[in-house]
């Protein structure tokens, strides 16, 4: 299940719900991404999507993950809109019979989300984003992380 939402979500509740639907799985791996405070300089993070295109891209990444690992279920929840420090941005959960597939596919999907998912991130400090703040693009490390999954 894929959800791109401008409404705050509770990762614990969502993960609970997901695990109840995964009785056939022996393992669930999950990742929660939060808005990080950078020495007090970040107050707000705003994420934008391209409705339709963003969801389709995530669906394709989930399909790739399911091709690559024997997954019984996948959950991706990704926020858009404005978030404060400590708020969840993303929850990825993958369910499989065994732990390795669950760990690896969760990692794979997060690398996709960091570098290829159709989102734009804008961060701003205590003064708000009235003409200030900056757009954040993936770092070299994010691209290097994603390339770990390329076929040799």
């Amino acid at each position: 299940m894929i959800e791109v939402t401008d409404i705050a979500f509770n990762p614990g509740e969502r993960l609970n719900g997901f695990s109840k639907d995964c009785e056939d799985a022996g393992a669930i791996a999950s990742f929660i991404g939060l808005v990080r405070s950078q020495k007090g300089s970040v107050d707000k993070l705003r994420l934008e999507s391209y409705p339709g295109v963003t969801e389709q891209g995530i669906e394709q990444a989930v399909a790739q993950a399911k091709n690559r690992w024997p997954l019984t279920a996948v959950l991706v929840i990704h926020r858009i809109g404005t978030m404060g420090v400590g708020e969840p941005i993303v929850l990825v959960a993958t369910a499989s019979k065994h732990r390795r597939s669950a760990f690896q596919s969760c990692d794979f999907l997060m690398d996709y989300l960091k570098t290829d998912a159709v989102f734009w991130k804008h961060q701003s400090g205590p003064d708000g984003d009235m003409g200030g703040g900056e757009w954040i693009e993936p770092r070299a490390q994010d691209y290097a992380d994603k390339n770990r999954w390329s076929d040799p």
Binding site: I89, V90, F119
Partner: protein, 82 residues
């Protein structure tokens, strides 16, 4: 009408996220439209930057294509979420 969408830092640069416009006179293809928008909004070549991807009707386009005047055209700076 063309529906033009500016994402990420391009929306700051163009001072808008979207606009509807008829195909400008003399503009028949994507590259000419980019030039026209660049001049109209004083973008300083931002749309021509190699890092910007273009989607026509929500599909990535890597070459110049003819326009009918009813397309949705998105200009996408480098993406990334999480």
């Amino acid at each position: 009408m063309l529906e033009i969408l500016y994402f990420g830092r391009l929306s700051d640069r163009a001072a808008r996220r979207a606009e509807s416009l008829a195909l400008p006179e003399g503009v028949t293809n994507l590259s000419a439209l980019k030039n026209w928008l660049d001049l109209a909004h004083d973008l300083g070549g931002a749309l021509q930057d190699k890092s910007i991807k273009t989607m026509v009707n929500q599909s990535l386009v890597y070459e110049d294509i003819a326009l009918q005047g009813d397309e949705e055209i998105g200009f996408l700076p480098p993406v990334g979420g999480g």
